[in-house]
């Protein structure tokens, strides 16, 4: 017997003596291997059993004479000895492979390969059993999969699995889960579903099937999980729904699908009820939050309010608070919405934005309502701290409409630096005119000539009715409470009740005057209008001005501790150093006096007085109507869908009908009516010639 053979025999003995399940524990791969070696390798050896190793060895080498000699020897020792039936048949895992299986079980695969190679060298013609090679291959494939898994190489896992169908079909469940996840993550949804289906088809273990369903829910869209659920139930053995243990998870996934607009089918009331009870029982804020968002989506705001509140009370986060604030807004509990969004503004920027937008509308009203000084103060604080152009123009309008022009100027300056849209620049110029800063006003009117018709209209008025401005009269002095100076900003005083009454009084007065003025006088006044306007504009328009808007204001950072206080403490200026190493602006040429046509902008009021515009950058020489600001966003965008969705408008109508929301009713009216701004009427007929369809940005020339 060769030295090699003896060594093998010793190894076999070692295994037979120490064979224990522990030796089979896999090492390394994070998900533990569940591959096991065949029973034969670990079988307890029968001490009385004849040792047929040599017999098999000679058989393997097909040395028949030696086989016969060895057989005779064994017969002498064991009179009942019969040669094994598979002596010349295919190799099986056998006692001579025990050492190999040990290496296999210990995951020493490199060593196993070396040992096999060495033995093949020593024993020409010998080869390991099919069983061992097959299992070795599987284990190596599995290791590859989990190496990819550890590195997050999903695409590699997917292509590996696709190229090795055999492996997928025979893999253990853990590997199959990983492969399915890889398919799902790389968009190969059908392949992922097939893997899950295969698991259900070939496994009856209850826990394993449950876990598989949970994995599928984590990786697939719920619509695909529904298919799988139906399929899995077919192979279900038990009398009851085996997935009842994950029913809550299934409902949760269905709710998420509805919230993401991925599911059309309703979730049954009974199922929802079960989930709600579960959420209430566990008092988990995220579960309650899901229920609440679903209620919000279904416009069941009353129920949503209660659920959001419960979620907050149980530790809900800033996003839950955001949902609560939106629900309050939808119920027209705007004051409460304001409080919630303010309190939660620091952890989530969405809340800060909502806070600014909620009060902005109220502040911008033509006849401003009384707002408590503390609320104005904190609004001003958040505005200046976040450099919000939206907030600044809200404060600007509030101050302007309550006759506080210095305060209005403070806020409009910032608004124009941060977000110089047409209405904001208009408010700023109005304010400057009130403060007799005519030079600055003219600079702005000329800077925005060609871009903001409303601003240019201040020199070239239209013939339309404009409501009277109460600050023109004696009421101005008592139109507001005292403004409050803070470090770095100023808070407008609250608007007083005198404004609304005064506006009504003036309106009646004007109407009376209108009625008593003879038509002939009106016509004469109109005839003189043109001359008067042109004369007034002389030397003021057009004049050369710098093209750039020079206004800059840094935000003020509030002291961190002030964030929770109802009134912010004195803020400090954020000191940002001046940048170094920038180039000078190229020397400007002569500033042009003729405005060019800007695509997206309507006709300029100056055109009615004979001023002409040069063609736009894309050679367009017609004004755009309706202007960009009045156009609905492209069909198919969320913005357009929300504008056009009759269900949305219809629902608002219903809200209005049930007196749920006065502002919602206003919304309906706005949504139904032609879109118009600043009380402007459609363009007069004589301007039809200069109108065109909206133009587009054609190309960026380089």
């Amino acid at each position: 017997m060769s030295r090699q053979l003896r060594a093998l025999l010793l190894a076999a003995c070692a295994v037979s003596l120490s064979a224990a399940p522990d030796a089979l524990r896999a090492q390394g791969a994070a998900p533990q291997s569940s591959l096991v070696a065949p029973a034969s390798s670990a079988a307890a050896s029968d001490r009385e059993k004849p040792d047929d190793l040599a017999l098999r060895y000679y058989a393997a080498l097909d040395q028949r004479a030696r086989v016969r000699a060895e057989f005779s020897r064994l017969r002498r020792l064991y009179p009942n000895f019969e040669p094994p039936a598979d002596l010349y048949g295919p190799r099986r895992g056998d006692i001579d492979e025990a050492g190999l299986w040990e290496l296999f079980s210990a995951d020493k695969l490199d060593e196993l390969h070396e040992t096999i190679a060495a033995r093949r060298k020593d024993m020409p013609g010998w080869r390991p059993s099919e069983d061992l090679m097959q299992k070795l291959k599987q284990k190596e494939q599995r290791n590859t999969i989990f190496t990819f898994w550890r590195e997050g190489r999903w695409l590699d896992i997917a292509s590996f699995a696709r190229d090795g169908r055999f492996f997928v079909a025979n893999a253990d469940v853990e590997a199959q889960w990983t492969i399915a996840e890889a398919f799902a993550r790389t968009g190969q949804i059908n392949e992922a579903i097939e893997v899950y289906k295969a698991i259900f088809a070939s496994n009856e273990d209850k826990h394993l099937r449950l876990a598989t369903m949970q994995k599928a829910m984590a990786n697939l869209h719920m619509s695909d999980v529904e298919t799988l659920l139906a399929e899995a139930r077919k192979s279900s053995k038990g009398p009851d729904d085996e997935f009842v243990a994950v029913a809550i998870d299934i409902t949760r996934a269905r709710i998420v699908a509805v919230l993401r607009d991925e599911r059309k089918d309703e979730i049954s009331a009974e199922e929802l009820q079960r989930f709600e009870s579960f959420a209430k029982l566990t008092r988990a804020p995220q579960q309650l939050g899901l229920v609440a968002w679903l209620q919000y989506k279904r416009r069941d705001f009353r129920a949503g309010l209660e659920t959001f509140k419960a979620a907050i009370e149980n530790g809900g986060d800033a996003m839950i608070a955001h949902g609560l604030a939106h629900t309050l807004r939808a119920l027209d509990l705007r004051r409460e919405a304001e409080e919630v969004s303010y309190a939660w503004r620091a952890p989530l920027v969405n809340n800060g934005i909502l806070f600014l937008d909620l009060l902005e509308r109220e502040l911008s009203q033509e006849t401003p309502a009384y707002v408590e000084p503390a609320r104005l103060a904190r609004y001003a604080g958040v505005t200046i701290e976040s450099a919000s152009g939206e907030g600044a123009q809200g404060l600007g309008w509030y101050a302007y409409n309550s006759c506080q022009f210095d305060v209005a100027r403070f806020w409009f300056e910032r608004a124009v630096a941060w977000f110089p849209k047409e209405a904001t620049v208009y408010g700023y110029v109005l304010t400057l005119k009130r403060l007799r800063k005519d030079k600055e006003a003219l600079e702005l009117i000329n800077r925005y000539d060609g871009l903001f018709p409303k601003v240019v209209e201040l020199l070239f008025p239209d013939d339309y009715y404009h409501p009277p401005f109460p600050c023109d009269s004696r009421v101005a002095a008592k139109a507001h409470g005292p403004a409050v100076k803070m470090a770095g900003y100023i808070v407008p005083g609250p608007a007083g009740p005198a404004l609304a009454a005064e506006r009504d009084r003036l309106r009646v007065e004007i109407e009376k005057k209108e009625a008593t003025t003879p038509d002939a006088a009106k016509l004469a006044a109109q005839a003189q209008q043109r001359e008067r306007v042109l004369k007034a504009a002389r030397g003021k328009f057009p004049i050369a001005v710098t093209a750039e808007n020079p206004l800059r204001f840094a935000p003020l950072a509030s002291v961190a501790a002030a964030r929770s206080a109802s009134v912010p403490a004195a803020p400090v200026v954020v000191a940002v150093a001046a940048p170094a190493g920038l180039r000078p602006e190229p020397a400007p040429g002569k500033a042009p006096l003729v405005a060019r046509r800007v695509p997206g902008v309507g006709p300029m009021p100056s055109e009615r007085y004979g001023f002409i515009l040069s063609p736009g950058w894309n050679a367009v020489d017609l004004a755009t109507w309706p202007p960009a600001s009045e156009q609905v966003a492209p069909t198919g965008t969320q913005w357009a869908n929300q504008e056009a969705d009759p269900a949305w408008i219809g629902q608002q109508k219903a809200d209005a009908a049930t007196k749920l929301s006065a502002t919602a009713a206003e919304h309906v009216a706005t949504a139904m009516a032609p879109r118009a701004r600043y009380g402007a009427a459609p363009p007069p007929p004589d301007l039809a010639a200069v109108l065109s369809l909206p133009s587009s940005k054609q190309s960026q020339t380089r």
Partner: protein
């Protein structure tokens, strides 16, 4: 039609709570590239932009040449005008260079001069020699994306609330006004609010694939997590494959999708030119795309390394050369990322006489290499 892509993978990985991989996966690329058909494995994990630019001299040189003291980025080859896109690029570079004073200048100028629309989007064109300086009320979606992305990165890097708020407002408005989320081919990014949809043009909707700023999609969820940015990435990659008749055809700058069949848009030159040349830069910068997505760009990059051509996509013929050697930096980056070559030794030192556009693209390619492909730069 479903295209398998690494994008879904990259974004999914980004969302999963797995630690970023410790080592960049660039090393094996040369080896991988040798084996045809082996999947391209790029590193798509999220990387913050703040402080990522490691070339202070290149940034100083850039500022001195293109950013005016008020914060306006000057297109030196184009009558000294400015674009929202240029403001966005410079803002990104300023965050990457950790240069807050300059970032602040750029953003302050941008909002004071370009945010003249009635919404949160940015007017795309500004010429201080004209009256008024804003030349068009329309936006450019890539400019909006770049600015929102830069604000989001600045908010993260300097922990700044006003930047975060402004970035969110722009990102959300963009998603509401220029993205068609539920088309037959997925989420479609229109190039602007006005002028490109099916109702605006007979061959509409029209898209510009270089407006799909893939690295922005990967990061904007930090300010607007409710938006399906991953969907935009997927559609961008899908369109890249769908928009070409053969796998080696380069995409045109402007692509018409009328009837959901892609062809070069009417009224634009059917060329792979100054717009589309940015597509491979954005792919590589985000670490998305498969070998097939890069194939035409790689062939283009390898064909004329020093003087990359503008290509007529219909005939496949070169119709001119890109102005400025900065464009070649994109080709060099693609060659390294896909094929494993090294970037030229002088890659980190952009030329001093470049105009705004090629100089900007070069600096962005350098930044992308420093962020995601450091081995490309190893000499």
């Amino acid at each position: 039609m479903r295209f398998l892509s690494l994008a879904a993978l990259g974004l999914a990985v980004g969302l999963a709570p797995v630690a970023p991989r410790a080592e960049p996966l660039v090393e094996p690329l040369a080896e991988v590239a040798a084996a045809v058909g082996v999947p391209l494995t790029l590193d798509a994990h999220k990387i913050k932009l703040g402080g990522a630019l490691k070339s202070p001299e290149a940034w100083s040189a850039y500022k001195k040449r293109f950013i005016a003291e008020q914060g306006r980025v000057i297109d030196t080859a184009n009558d000294q005008v400015s674009h929202s896109e240029g403001q966005g690029y410079a803002m990104l570079l300023a965050v990457a260079a950790n240069d807050r004073p300059t970032f602040d200048r750029l953003w302050s100028w941008t909002r004071a001069n370009l945010m003249v629309r009635n919404d949160e989007l940015v007017a795309w064109r500004f010429d201080p020699q004209r009256r008024p300086a804003v030349g068009d009320m329309n936006n450019a979606s890539d400019g909006d994306l770049l600015i929102a992305w830069a604000l989001a990165e600045a908010a993260d890097h300097w922990d700044d609330l006003p930047y975060r708020m402004a970035g969110r407002r722009i990102a959300v408005e963009l998603s509401r006004k220029v993205v068609l989320f539920k088309t037959k081919i997925g989420a479609l990014l229109l190039p602007a609010v006005a002028g490109f949809n099916a109702s605006d043009r007979s061959d509409g909707p029209v898209v510009n694939l270089s407006y799909y700023v893939f690295p922005a999609f990967a990061r904007l969820d930090s300010v607007a997590p409710e938006v399906d940015w991953a969907g935009l990435t997927q559609t961008g990659l899908d369109l890249l494959e769908a928009a070409r008749p053969t796998p080696q055809t380069l995409p045109a700058d402007w692509i018409a999708l009328e009837g959901w069949r892609a062809r070069p848009a009417e009224g634009f030159a059917p060329e792979f030119a100054y717009n589309a040349v940015r597509i491979p830069l954005y792919l590589a910068w985000a670490g998305v795309g498969e070998r097939a997505h890069y194939a035409p760009f790689l062939a283009w990059a390898q064909r004329a390394k020093d003087a990359p051509p503008i290509v007529d996509v219909a005939s496949g013929k070169d119709v001119g050369l890109f102005g400025g050697s900065g464009i070649a930096s994109i080709g060099a980056l693609v060659a390294c990322v896909v094929d494993g070559g090294k970037l030229p030794a002088d890659f980190a030192a952009p030329k001093a006489d470049e105009d705004y556009y090629p100089a900007t693209l070069h600096l962005l390619a350098l930044l992308a290499a420093q962020m995601r492909y450091p081995s490309c730069l190893a000499n």
